[in-house]
């Protein structure tokens, strides 16, 4: 069922790339339209799954990826429609296509363990997914910042100079997306920690081995905390030591690389606490 959005995301990716290269306004508008249709079909898929399971499909790593792609697509569409800036699409879409191909090609089982019943689970997962979507935008913005920065510094004004918004705008967008992501990351981690402590003592899942594995030694939790420190440092550095611009852009890119690491390989192969 996740294949239809994948096809539409791929079509949108081709249109965004074509628009980026040739800057034909009709192609640009069709790219946005394709992405809107991709998001709509993805909304439909997630809606169907929600009805089927009785909850939003976020319990297993595969369905969490699909929901993450959906959120990121919507977040990107929101920025594009509010800023009228289409150049970022060509950087976001490859990520959407790559991630969406996981649930499209290997549909996982969405089987919610008894321990995951309850409101805390929804808050924990949805705030983290939202944080990751925000960090993905920050990463892309950071990469484009560096590309444009290098062109201007090298005094060779070419491809990106003609296509990207100004450094100042990119820097500010990077700041905003990192702040938003950091707030949700903090909420997600705190809620997860409190909830795990609660469940471990009593409740329906206290004997679940996965709950017993909830500790700092678990790679998933450890890497999430590393992320939190990276982004906290980025925000601190921007305010206290004047690390804006290119350094902040690099930190955003590194931070999201860690997020991605946590999101795919760690979720599938390494964690003992989050393999639902």
């Amino acid at each position: 069922m996740n294949a239809a959005p994948l096809v539409l995301y791929t079509a949108a990716l081709i249109a965004y790339a074509w628009h980026f290269a040739r800057r034909h306004p009709v192609v640009g508008r069709s790219a946005t339209t394709l992405l809107i249709f991709a998001s709509l079909s993805h909304t439909f898929v997630i809606g169907m799954q929600t009805m089927e399971f009785g909850h939003v499909p976020v319990a297993g790593p595969t369905s969490a990826i699909s929901t993450f792609v959906w959120l990121l697509g919507l977040a990107y569409l929101y920025t594009e429609l509010t800023t009228d800036e289409r150049a970022m699409g060509v950087f976001i879409l490859p990520l959407l296509v790559a991630l969406q191909s996981i649930p499209a090609l290997h549909p996982g089982v969405e089987d919610r363990a008894p321990v995951l019943q309850g409101p805390w689970f929804g808050v924990h997962v949805s705030s983290l997914l939202f944080a990751y979507a925000s960090f993905a935008l920050a990463c892309v913005i950071g990469i484009t910042y560096v590309l444009l920065f290098k062109e201007i510094k090298a005094k060779h004004l070419g491809f990106f100079y003609a296509r990207l918004p100004s450094l100042q705008v990119l820097d500010r967008m990077n700041q905003v997306t990192v702040v938003v992501g950091w707030v949700f990351l903090t909420i997600g981690i705190v809620v997860g920690a409190v909830w795990a402590a609660q469940v471990r003592g009593y409740g329906p899942g206290s004997l679940d081995p996965r709950v017993q594995a909830m500790s700092l030694q678990d790679p998933k939790i450890f890497v999430a905390l590393v992320c939190w420190f990276v982004y906290s440092f980025e925000l601190f550095a921007a305010r206290r030591i004047g690390w804006g611009g290119r350094k902040a852009a690099y930190l955003s890119a590194i931070g999201f690389a860690i997020v991605l690491l946590n999101f795919v390989p760690v979720s599938y192969f390494l964690t003992k606490s989050h393999n639902f």
């Binding site: 004004l157 003609a162 820097d171 004047g242 804006g244 611009g245 350094k247």
Partner: protein
């Protein structure tokens, strides 16, 4: 109907002659009405910019119209025709159309792809429309040219990139800071170059301009000349630099006044706020190594000139794509323009058929007299519909043969003979509407 273009431009005439034939000096509307009074053209539009003066006209006899329009140009400006004649160019029909399309695309401009020309072509058409000197042919031609200009602008990069040093500086400032409205510019040096660049920055939205010079009186005078600028003494240079976003260095100093160490000191307190330094002084005012500092963007006059050259090169590489659009649109216009050759035959054919219909209705008038009024109206309607239907296919065939003038001529010849249209073509009958409609009690419904 033919199209005619008679013009003079930067390609054919020196600037002093172009100044003398500038129509906008004496008013384009006046020129249009003077041209109409000569009665050699049916439609006329004058396109007049600082690099060209062109008269586009629709006429029946291009040869005599050409001579008359050329004479008009020298008469109107009071220049002997012998002086102007060598510099005039004239083309007709589709070549004239192609020329206008190239003009609107910016391909004929002195600086290829400059953006103003399309607006100038539009206003030329608007002035002529107001003076009632345009008609169906030139309206169609000019609207097609607007479409060409728009397509070239959106589909090619012909107009992209700054092509003068000061625009290149502004465009860079925009790429670094985004909106320039809240930015502060400091000009180091009170000379003419610095003043001009500051004025340009101000016209692009910069609000705060500060002049710093070794002599406070010079700085104050320049600040006053710019208007709304402030002056600061040399000792405050560092604090002014700390507060500014864009530095224009333009002193006459023989050794650099801003060394790398100096700029580093300034940047320490600025955190990550970028500083854009434009060094337009010769010899240079800013040590080139200062450009290595993170968040300092240093461009000197040579760098800016290099980007201008690159932009010009990029524009010329887009010329082929723009030319393709011009050709495409010329083809489209050609199809319409050639199909107009069939128009007299179509009109004559319609008049002929309608005359027959009317004559028959008149002949049968007494037989139809017993019908109730709306019955007669129905008869009128039905006969008219039959004529329309009969004419539909021949009309379409004639129009679609538009690409080939020989086919049109053959068709017209055949129709003229078959339906004895010759007398209709020679002397077009008065408009059918003005005739007394034999059966129409009320005017026929508009179809």
């Amino acid at each position: 109907m033919h199209l005619l273009l008679v013009g003079i431009s930067h390609r054919t005439a020196p600037v002093d002659l172009r100044e003398r034939v500038d129509f906008s000096a004496r008013g384009i509307a006046a020129a249009l009405s003077a041209l109409r009074a000569r009665n050699t053209t049916q439609e006329a539009i004058v396109v007049s910019t600082c690099n060209r003066a062109e008269i586009y006209a629709a006429c029946d006899d291009p040869a005599s119209a050409r001579a008359d329009v050329s004479a008009f140009i020298s008469d109107f400006h009071g220049i002997p025709s012998s002086v102007v004649a060598d510099h005039l160019y004239h083309v007709t029909d589709l070549d004239a159309a192609r020329h206008l399309f190239r003009v609107a695309a910016g391909l004929e401009s002195l600086v290829v792809g400059e953006p103003q020309i399309l607006g100038q072509v539009k206003s030329a058409h608007a002035v002529a429309a107001e003076a009632h000197t345009t008609g169906p042919v030139l309206n169609r031609l000019f609207h097609a040219s607007f479409a060409v200009g728009k397509r070239v602008r959106t589909e090619t990069a012909l107009g992209s990139g700054a092509v003068s040093v000061s625009y290149a500086a502004v465009s860079l400032a925009r790429k670094i800071f985004g909106d320039l409205a809240g930015r502060t510019v400091v000009v180091v040096g009170a000379g003419e170059m610095g003043k001009l660049t500051a004025l340009h920055m101000k016209s692009q939205g910069v609000q705060h301009v500060t002049i710093v010079s070794r002599t406070m009186a010079h700085a104050a005078r320049t600040a006053e000349a710019i208007g709304g600028a402030s002056a600061a003494p040399w000792e405050e240079l560092d604090s002014v630099l700390r507060a500014s976003d864009i530095v224009i260095a333009a002193t006459g100093a023989t050794s650099p006044i801003l060394t790398k160490a100096h700029v580093e000191g300034v940047m320490k307190t600025r955190r990550s706020r970028p500083l854009f330094i434009i060094d337009i002084a010769l010899p240079r005012d800013v040590e080139p190594a200062a450009g290595e500092i993170e968040q300092v963007f240093l461009y000197n006059i040579d760098d800016l000139q290099a980007t201008v050259r690159e932009n010009l090169q990029r524009r010329s590489s887009e010329v082929a794509r723009a030319e393709a659009i011009v050709s495409e649109e010329t083809e489209k216009f050609a199809a319409w323009f050639r199909s107009r050759g069939a128009v007299p035959t179509i009109v004559a054919l319609r008049q002929r058929f309608d005359a027959i219909r009317r004559a028959e209705l008149e002949r049968l008038d007494f037989k139809l007299a017993s019908l109730p009024p709306d019955g007669r109206a129905r008869v009128e309607e039905v006969t008219r519909l039959i004529v329309e239907k009969l004419l539909l296919t021949p009309t379409e065939q004639l129009k679609s043969a538009g690409d080939d003038p020989e086919t049109i001529a053959a068709f017209s010849e055949a129709l003229t003979r078959l339906f004895a249209l010759a007398d209709h073509l020679e002397a077009p009958a008065e408009s059918p509407r003005s005739r007394v409609e034999p059966f129409a009690r009320k005017p026929p419904r508009p179809r």
